[in-house]
């Protein structure tokens, strides 16, 4: 392995950031490949348990976006 790359577990709201991610994709924009996306129906579905579960399973960071 050449260099360590972080894993960032991202909780994205279906209607906001997930849409933005989709738009970024269809617009062929370049961005860092370190995020692992979990789509949640709304940021209201987010729970501190999720963030902790991600960290416990070895994620390097958690990102919640509405």
């Amino acid at each position: 392995m050449s260099e360590w790359e972080p894993k960032i577990v991202s909780f994205l709201c279906n209607w906001c950031s997930y849409g933005a991610a989709d738009l970024a994709g269809v617009s062929r924009m370049q961005y860092a490949p370190n995020i692992r996306v979990v789509r949640i129906p709304c940021t209201g579905r987010m729970s501190p348990k999720f963030a902790l579960a991600a960290l416990r399973e070895g994620a390097d960071a958690v990102w919640v976006s509405g």
């Binding site: 933005a20 961005y31 960071a61």
Partner: protein, 57 residues
């Protein structure tokens, strides 16, 4: 508040991020992804709150 408590217990503040991005803001999305990735790279791998796999003898 959750972030505060994590920090209180000694987790690096850059381990958890929150943001607001509308579905039309793909440029902001890209910007935030890159910013967060850079920040996490700077603090290095997560050593805390990781559950080590059970060692089987």
């Amino acid at each position: 508040m959750m972030k505060n408590l994590l920090e209180f217990m000694g987790v690096e503040p850059d381990r958890i991020h929150f943001s607001w991005i509308s579905s039309a803001e793909s440029t902001k999305f890209v910007e935030v992804v890159n910013k967060i990735t850079a920040k996490v790279k700077a603090i290095g791998p997560n050593q805390r709150f990781v559950k080590q796999a059970a060692k089987v003898a």
